[in-house]
């Protein structure tokens, strides 16, 4: 046996009993940076409270062997009201499918010891083995308490770490190993009063067997069971969205407790913290730099100037910086298609490969530059602390529409893509807030609408480039206003979305310099998510659409014999014209062409003909597929993009059967309004289905948006005609 084999043989024997660790802590304490440093895994780091929604796991090498490290969403307390918040509780106690952690690594902010230690006290009451990683030491400076003294007070090891430089990581690993060898004890820093004691005993008796420490730890820990009972009593109130066993819910709801009893646990913990922590902290951490910056960035005049400035830079750069890269990607795929066509010769398979497959991949890839850029900005703003201020500045406006202040970030992300934006709604506590945001995020001008607008503006809207640019900005404003208005209307008319009074507490973290590697990692994470979750659907639908527009290949008997005509064509020009006519005939005869004809009566009041109808059918797969569909429809090739001059010319020159111009500027406007409002993205619907856990909301979303789009386009087109345009 070789040495290699020996090494491999040892690994599986340990894998079964691999230690399970949980990394917990408040938001904005550098928890994710620490997670990355400990595991080397690729995970998002952020400065915005609650953005770490996904639970991530990585592997950590301890002196005693390999361990699994589970990263929890940042939280201030284990008290929960929603399933999302319950994730942290479940992970600490090993319920809800989570493994029981052998130890918990708690991040504590050196500048805010007492606040971060609150979570530690809760974990200790539950009987968890804890190790504290003290972060943000640079920021706290001389206010940083002595780790040894703090550890003695808290009753667990405290290791100062600087994740950026790796300082303290080895000590932390060793401390985790030491903690793993300790016995579990439930440490309570406060004593329940007699009335509360009676309540706790009653609720503890109702704990289902799997919830007890006897079942979870293997040996009973009365204090741990009490802590679970206290958690249930505090969190279950009939208005919560927690997943708890019915007997426990019944027992906890049955206890009517007065306010003093209710507040006892929280006040008891703070009483202890306020007594023990201040003597260890020499002075307050200096936050004057953040306060000075806030004086400007949150100022009533300069604050908004800065806000508008930042947002303008973001969106202008999306237009002007991404364009050359997008052109390059597009040219690359065209070149590839051309080479393949030459190499393989004509045929159904070549058409599939070039028009269906490569065209579809190109349609996905072309968005990457914009998404990368947007998330570069978002990541930067998030990490420096400005994004939380955006929610602060915008709350007044968002609240008027009954949206949560935190909905601004998902809605802003909606400008790039609704798919990650809808996933970002998880940062909100209540299901009602999340769903309302999900229902309006798809109205935001996502990057998939850009090629459509670019094509329509370029082809149909006359005027100088500056006016065309202004129209594009106008479409962005229109979408934002529509989304806000839709939220307002829905929060008043749709029962499950009715407004409830919600506390708006958002931490405004200190301003920090973003770490470029963290920003780039986040940027790549979001982009690869787009490729995986939206890209694959776009590709599949692109291919399906190609097939829909390609088959059947048999033209009607009445059709001219194009092959013979082309073979005997007198010149190349005639040949090309005939080839184009042949493609058009094939298209009109295809399944897609037939559907397009079938829906023409429905869309002609909006100014659209059957060709646009085919494009709209294709756009149901993903909006930008509209462009490549029109490319096929107008025989300029499936690889035609929104900048394609032949496609733009084809649209400008298109004639109706009566010889009139098919697409006037008014039709262009009507079409843009339609695309702004219609729900035409399977990826979005799929994500909404996943996030809401059913078909009800995706169907509602699809229906209301499409009806809204039809009515709005109808008003624009018919109104415009009455006024004498187009």
């Amino acid at each position: 046996m070789t040495e290699d084999h020996c090494g491999v043989a040892e690994a599986p024997s340990r894998a079964g009993a691999r230690m399970q660790l949980v990394l917990a802590g408040n938001p904005n304490v550098g928890k994710t940076t620490l997670f990355n440093a400990l595991t080397g895994s690729r995970a998002k780091v952020s400065n915005y409270p609650g953005i770490t929604v996904e639970r991530r796991a990585g592997q950590l090498v301890l002196p005693s062997g390999l361990a699994d490290l589970h990263d929890l969403p940042g939280t201030y307390s284990l008290s929960s009201r929603s399933v999302e918040e319950q994730v942290a509780f479940d992970a600490i106690v090993g319920l809800g499918g989570a493994p029981l952690p052998d130890a918990i690594v708690l991040c504590i902010d050196a500048a805010q010891i007492a606040r971060s230690a609150y979570l530690l006290l809760q974990c200790m009451e539950l009987g968890a083995r804890c190790v504290v990683a003290m972060t943000m030491i640079d920021e706290a400076g001389t206010a940083t308490p002595d780790a040894r003294a703090l550890g003695e007070v808290l009753g667990c090891e405290v290791v100062p770490v600087t994740a950026r430089t790796g300082k303290g990581l080895d000590e932390l690993r060793a401390a985790i190993d030491r903690a793993l060898r300790k016995d579990r004890i439930a440490q309570w820093r406060w004593t329940p009063s007699a009335p509360l004691r009676a309540h706790l005993d009653a609720v503890r008796a109702a704990l289902p067997l799997p919830w007890t420490t006897a079942a979870r730890h293997g040996s009973a820990l009365p204090g741990g069971d009490d802590a679970l009972a206290a958690w249930a009593m505090a969190c279950i109130d009939g208005d919560d969205e927690l997943e708890v066993p019915a007997p426990l819910r019944a027992a906890a709801s049955a206890r009517t407790i007065d306010r003093a009893c209710d507040d006892e646990a929280v006040l008891g913990r703070w009483d202890w913290l306020d007594r023990e922590i201040p003597p260890l902290v020499a002075h307050r951490t200096d936050r004057s730099r953040t306060e000075r910056i806030d004086r400007v960035l949150l100022h009533r005049v300069f604050g908004f100037v800065a806000f508008i400035g930042v947002m303008t830079i973001v969106f202008m750069s999306l237009f002007w910086w991404a364009a050359p890269v997008m052109d390059g990607i597009d040219k690359g795929f065209k070149w590839l298609g051309g080479e393949l066509r030459i190499g393989l010769g004509e045929g159904v398979f070549t058409d599939f490969l070039v028009s269906g497959l490569i065209g579809g991949v190109g349609a996905v890839m072309v968005f990457l530059p914009q998404i990368l850029l947007l998330f570069l900005f978002l990541g930067f703003l998030e990490d420096c602390g400005y994004l939380a201020r955006v929610a602060y500045l915008m709350d007044r406006i968002m609240r008027t529409m009954n949206l949560h202040g935190r909905a601004f970030v998902p809605m802003l992300s909606g400008f790039a893509c609704a798919v990650p934006a809808i996933m970002a709604t998880r940062t909100m506590e209540r299901r009602r807030d999340r769903i309302l945001t999900m229902m309006v995020v798809p109205l935001m001008t996502c990057s998939a609408r850009l090629p459509v607008y670019t094509l329509i503006i370029g082809a149909l809207i006359p005027g100088a480039r500056i006016y065309q640019g202004l129209l594009m900005v106008g479409m962005y404003l229109f979408s934002a206003c529509t989304a806000l208005a839709a939220a307002w209307v829905m929060s008043r008319t749709v029962k499950p979305l009715r407004a409830k009074r919600m506390p708006f507490l958002i931490e405004l973290p200190p301003y920090r310099w973003p770490r470029i590697p963290d920003v780039l990692r986040m940027m790549w994470g979001k982009s690869s998510m787009f490729l995986r979750e939206a890209g694959t659907v776009i590709l599949a639908c692109s291919i399906a659409l190609w097939a829909l527009l390609y088959f059947p290949r048999q033209l009607p008997d009445a059709a001219p014999d194009y092959a013979a005509l082309i073979a005997h064509a007198p010149s190349d020009d005639v040949k090309e014209t005939l080839a184009a006519e042949k493609q058009a005939a094939h298209l009109e005869n295809s399944f897609g062409g037939r559907i397009g004809h079938a829906i023409e009566p429905l869309i002609s009041p909006l100014g659209f003909d059957w060709k646009i109808g085919v494009g709209i059918i294709g756009a149901f797969a993903a909006r930008e597929v509209f462009v490549s569909t029109l490319g096929i429809v107008y025989s300029v090739g499936a690889d035609a993009d929104e900048e394609s001059e032949p496609l733009r010319k084809a649209l400008r020159d298109a004639k109706r059967s009566d010889g009139q111009r098919a697409y006037s500027p008014l039709v262009g406007l009507s079409l843009m309004i339609f695309f702004a409002l219609a729900m035409q993205c399977m990826s979005t619907l799929a994500v909404v289905r996943r996030e809401t856990g059913g078909l009800r909301w995706p169907i509602f979303l699809m229906t209301y948006m499409t009806v809204l789009a039809w009515i709005a386009s109808f008003v624009v087109y018919q109104g415009g005609r009455l006024l004498g345009f187009g």
């Binding site: 209710d262 507040d263 929280v266 951490t285 953040t290 949150l298 908004f304 500045l393 958002i506």
Partner: protein, 87 residues
């Protein structure tokens, strides 16, 4: 007196937190327990929410929520002198 009535920058001491059960627990858990010093640092440009400071941390809180926090006002406004001209 509630936190919503305290002049900008003037420190105040929390006396009690009112409001719904979940809201109250949330505020208590973030450390707004009776006896804690709080301060309104800025008011958002549109007049609401407020930026408040508790235990060295800064939070955004709506005026309606701040009015649920009963406080005792005391002392002189504590403010950095630089950039005061902007207000």
């Amino acid at each position: 007196m509630t936190l919503a009535d305290i002049p900008l920058g003037r420190p105040a001491t929390v006396r009690a937190v009112d409001g719904g059960r979940a809201f109250r627990r949330r505020l208590l858990e973030m450390g707004l327990v009776p006896g804690t010093e709080v301060r309104v640092i800025t008011i958002a440009p549109l007049g609401d929410p407020l930026q408040i400071e508790v235990r060295g941390g800064q939070w955004s809180m709506r005026r309606s929520e701040a009015s649920q926090i009963v406080v005792d006002g005391h002392g002189e406004p504590v403010r950095s002198t630089s950039l005061r001209v902007l207000r």
